[in-house]
Amino acid sequence: MIDAMDVFRAFEPHRGKAIVTSSGTSGRRWQEVSKAPSRDVSFGSTMGQTTSAAFGLALGLPDEKVVLFDSEGALLMNLGVLASIAGKKPKNFVHFLLDNEVYATTGGQPVPNSTGIDYAGVAKAVGYASAHHFDDLEEFATSVESIMKEEGPVFISIKILPEIQNMPVGLRTRTPTRSRPETIADLREELGITG
């Protein structure tokens, strides 16, 4: 398993001008690595629906690369979205899955069949253009540049270390630091989208 921060550090030099969004406990830490916060957008975390929002964004901005750092707990709540994405084949969509095998935000309880799901296999079988799996940082770091050049939708599952939260929700550090409306407004300004 890989530290999520190492995944982000390996990805960041190859981001280009991609728009990045994330879900899950580890995904929130992307903002600590990002060098282009005006191209980072938060959609909130509603029962796996960040994936659908990222899909909609990719459909609406076909000339922009859209990167999602998803989490397996969220994806399992909305697994049918893989077929929705595969059906529309957004060439600009790069779908990372950070798989820590647990619901980290609720104390680390395992997700269903936590160690037995081949998410990349599911994505490929459902119709993604390509799918990859990594549980070794060096292998990921040497592959990410070429992956970012692939035609989407691309799926990359990565086994990561869980960052388990046990503090009561009200006592946790608030992340992301910008609210959803703020990130959306900043992105739209960056892209010159009005209305």
Partner: protein, 172 residues
């Protein structure tokens, strides 16, 4: 009989209202009552139909499209709307963007008792979520769809158009 046929809500009316209001994408799960509408939408070069796997995806997909500057519409059945409760809460109401949801009112009947629980809970659901809705039963109600768009743009909230013609449907 001729008057009845003239009154039936025509799929062209919905598509015309979508075009008039600048709709770019229709996020939908087809149902057995709307296959002609689906085919008609696919024929429109200005309109992108986005099939989804479950209705809970609809509000979030619409949010992403809206952030991108597009004008999405959600087209689902009331059963799917009931399933989508938390998505509508988190991705439409809380996100605060204009969204028209066209919802087939399965089980609605003008006369007699409503026996289908999908219909029984539809309007209480919308009232509980504080979502305004407009009822469209026949072709002469079509302009209410534009009224729904106006309200959605003004309030930056979801507004529902309930299609009370669900059991007639848009089959050929």
């Amino acid at each position: 009989m001729v008057e009845q046929q003239a009154a039936i809500l025509r799929p062209e009316t919905l598509v015309d209202e979508f075009k008039k209001n600048g709709v770019t994408h229709v996020i939908t799960i087809p149902d057995s009552e709307t296959n002609y509408l689906y085919e008609l939408m696919l024929e429109q070069d200005w309109l992108d139909v986005v099939p989804i796997s479950r209705e809970g995806e609809a509000s979030a997909t619409a949010l992403g499209l809206s952030v991108a500057g597009k004008v999405p519409v959600v087209l689902i059945q009331n059963t799917g709307m009931l399933e989508s409760g938390d998505s509508i809460r988190g991705m439409a109401l809380d996100a605060g963007f204009p969204l028209v949801m066209v919802v087939g009112y399965r089980g609605w009947t003008r006369r007699g008792l409503i026996l289908d629980s999908a219909a029984k809970y539809t309007e209480p659901f919308l009232n509980a979520f504080g979502i305004n809705y407009f009822f469209v039963e026949n072709n002469s109600d079509g302009d209410r769809i534009s009224t729904a768009f106006d309200e959605a743009r003004k309030t930056r909230r979801p507004v529902v158009v309930l299609i009370g013609d669900e059991y007639h449907g848009f089959n050929r």
